[in-house]
Symmetry: C2
Subunit: 627 residues, 2 copies
Amino acid sequence: MNAPDRHAVPLAERLALTREPFPGSRKVYLEGSRPDLQVPLREVLLSNGERIHLYDTSGPYTDPTAAIDVRSGLPALRAPWLDSRGDTETYEGRIRQALDDGGKDDARLAQLRAEAAALQRAPRRAKAGTNVTQMHYARRGIVTPEMEYVALRENGRREWMAEYQRDAARERRLAGNPMGAALPKGPITPEFVRDEVARGRAIIPANINHPEVEPMAIGRNFLVKINANIGNSAVTSSIEEEVDKLVWAIRWGADNVMDLSTGRNIHTTRDWIVRNSPVPIGTVPIYQALEKVGGVAEDLTWEIFRDTLIEQAEQGVDYFTIHAGLRLPFIHLTADRMTGIVSRGGSIMAKWCIAHHRESFLYTHFEDICDIMKAYDVSFSLGDGLRPGCAADANDEAQFAELRTLGELTQLAWKHDVQTMIEGPGHVPMHLVQANMDEQLKHCHEAPFYTLGPLTIDIAPGYDHIASAIGAAMIGWMGTAMLCYVTPKEHLGLPDREDVKQGIIAYKIAAHAADVAKGHPGARARDDALSKARFEFRWTDQFNLGLDPDTAREFHDETLPKDASKVAHFCSMCGPKFCSMKITQEVREFAAAKGVAEREALAQGMADKSAEFKAGGGEIYIPIGKA
Amino acid sequence: MNAPDRHAVPLAERLALTREPFPGSRKVYLEGSRPDLQVPLREVLLSNGERIHLYDTSGPYTDPTAAIDVRSGLPALRAPWLDSRGDTETYEGRIRQALDDGGKDDARLAQLRAEAAALQRAPRRAKAGTNVTQMHYARRGIVTPEMEYVALRENGRREWMAEYQRDAARERRLAGNPMGAALPKGPITPEFVRDEVARGRAIIPANINHPEVEPMAIGRNFLVKINANIGNSAVTSSIEEEVDKLVWAIRWGADNVMDLSTGRNIHTTRDWIVRNSPVPIGTVPIYQALEKVGGVAEDLTWEIFRDTLIEQAEQGVDYFTIHAGLRLPFIHLTADRMTGIVSRGGSIMAKWCIAHHRESFLYTHFEDICDIMKAYDVSFSLGDGLRPGCAADANDEAQFAELRTLGELTQLAWKHDVQTMIEGPGHVPMHLVQANMDEQLKHCHEAPFYTLGPLTIDIAPGYDHIASAIGAAMIGWMGTAMLCYVTPKEHLGLPDREDVKQGIIAYKIAAHAADVAKGHPGARARDDALSKARFEFRWTDQFNLGLDPDTAREFHDETLPKDASKVAHFCSMCGPKFCSMKITQEVREFAAAKGVAEREALAQGMADKSAEFKAGGGEIYIPIGKA
């Protein structure tokens, strides 16, 4: 809302990684069943002595004790777990080619690659004949450290939450509506996580070549997650900016990040991002494959695509968007649309199919793709290449024909124990949102749904993070597991640092609104802690418990800059004389002082008034029933 | 999102009324059955020759041909209509007192009042024994010019909308869900407006002392409206800023404005605002009454309050928030709340009731208040003094006990033909929103609901316009007639110019999302026009059809500043090589070129592929039914 003018921020400052812990907060770790299983939480110390523990996506960057060097990457915390399973081997990976970075090498690239040299690792893959996916372990009854990590992380510390849930009547009144989700009443156990992954109802995106990742789950019965997209582009941006955007995005709460880079240097960009990312990284491999054929969709081949999958799997990408549901016979269904095919990957494949009069090689080679996925535990994000690009195209046959195909492909992926989620729209008016969730659940067998928004209207360019947060909150409540953010720049330009933050905060709001509505255990406790701080005029606590403490404090300072007003028992909205909360506290003291007898007296007083009024001919006392 | 640093904007600039028409737009007027009935519309001229007509709240300020002098006010367009009814008289109004402006006069105030001298008018009131409310006329079968104005305004120009609704299959697929609303299929007639007002299902806030107002309707079967709050405060702000905020607020789409001024100079502030406002103005009279007793709630009396109602009715305030539903026996119900009573007016009255051990004088004198309302056609906005102040207090007995009382008072107001709407929360998690609408419809007999948000979560200080736009869009779809905006500064400070704009845009998004979901005739046409422009790379048309053309263009310029790129057939998101819309157009041409025979050939091709696959053992072709 009142970001500093982005052009006023010097480059150096924009590129400096933000490493300060959040105000009044410090990083704490929950230890699991083994000493190397350390689950991070953000501890907020309140002025009244309470300690609130929050889910923390920011990684080591907000831990002042952590030594960070983006040129050597984060520690490989999962390496011992992978080693102990003994079903993987390192090998001499695919030879890097100039084409991987979009063409002939140049000095700039050589320099970038040299800087990134320390990030190179020998890739790891499944030993011949083995399958190393979390789903494969889960189905064989194995609880992995990744699953235990997820259980501890989803629970956080329930003790402080319980403090805010002591009023049984209140909890009954506010009981959530899970809309069909099977949320556990008690704490989430590692066994529950295993079972959800085995059923395919949740995924843990964690490529064996991304040992730096802090495991997280995407599933209807866990906290709703959000994804932020970053990426360079043929038009703007640089590698440093991408790594900075990653750190910035996870600081504000991105659970996953997709690298949508196109154009030059994308292989090297990805090295930097993956090695420095504590969150799962997703990509759309067809973008790089298209680069390799000079941007001519017709020239794409299965061989080039396959090579690109292996290239990215060796780098450690955790999930691939694959538009395998966009089939040749569906393409003509888009001809009468208002905005046709708006998915980049979808339109590339549509062009290929038509040029060759052949079925998509993503579809015909789907099981070959599964073989690659299970050798590295890369998860499918089955792309919705035919998603609507405007309200007018929502819920049409092209969209749903593809969705049904994604359901078929999900079963095929599960045959190979490959973790799978399903991408969804897009642009959908509010009254058509439920149908999207219902169709996905019906045809995709409860595989996690991962939607882009949806945007509920089309007339808000510049504010589509808001237009879409409305749809995102609703579909999140209905059962969507992860929400792909939309920034204010959607449809207009590439998001910069401030746009990324604005998009993420809007989506943290949507995801949390969904968790509260579903009745996720403890989800509302943070709201209650903040509301209590607000009512007790603990301003600093109110700021620090919010999604963006910096902006909250800044807004308060604008009207009441003095530190004194941070403890003032009034605020600038009403001023000292008028403060409703101040008056309420007096009311409360009064009401509390009165006993039952007093209330009866009041009731009697009412009876008299009632008689008075009836005499006055007021029709005000007609029974509710007749009203 | 990227507002210029507010402190960088010089005062002079902030106080200059923004009068430029919107880009590519001009003001046009629809003439009604009489030449002095001129309904404004904003005409957007598109680059392809189309003319789009939009609902316009900005008044004469965006009409370059209109002469504006804030010191003499807007033309009294309704004066001839009022005269022609012959049921009102002008009279020597109540004598202004120093106390009306919050205490002893000073030089500054004298100067302000002198500047505002030209704004003084002899007040008008109903002749003895008459009732001049729109509801009273409606119930006697009279269609007033105000009703005809509303009908024309709600329809706009349906011709261009019809152009976007020619695809019958699409319209069926996107048919809205009115959630019980009775939206007319065809154009809205003056008779329909009359009937809705007669039933109490809609109100037309139009005090006979506010002849400058451009009539509008608030009702479930009309477009969803939004209200913006402005007002000075004991802590900051000035009269000039308030008038500027009014003009700024209606420019961005505020249908109504509430003046929540407190402290000094509020009578004179109101003169300036009402005389310069083409939209209805609402107030909370108890604020001023409290000023008159030095801020000591216990010292309030019916006489002082009554005098304040008359003072404001003579000035032309169109609706009063009256917290008459907050009754003595309800107060103790708030004792166990997380945040007690958060309504200013509500807490003031609660304090009075407890201090005197007596029922609220607003409740006991309700019919006396009705007598004042009907003499000036001031509408009730029955206040929810016990609305929840946080998610934890949502839908509790205190809130609903008051709501049921508001239903009783509604019937009492209707006995006097006084127009009435009902105020609602506040803070409500998504899953409890529907119950608020259901209870209101059940107990308040379809009187228009007017909610504040509701905020769906409490952890977003600095972003509560977003947290509340989610709840606002949902409850608007469910039947709420007007949405009171929330700005980014909610809970933190007083909104300035940029905050007001951000709050309004967020609420225009929510209101439009609700209109589209309800299936309001033609609501989606603007989205379709913008989407078509987007698909055809008509960038300038896309900007100009949006809610904020300035920001949309600014965002686009940041990445692609050249004018050439305003007609470029690609955008910065994908760059020239990758543009999905560009590819889609090629796909469309292809698909369009193919006939039925071609499609059958494709189908046959699929059959072959299918056979191939089955041979390959793929389970991919299992029937959907089994999937």
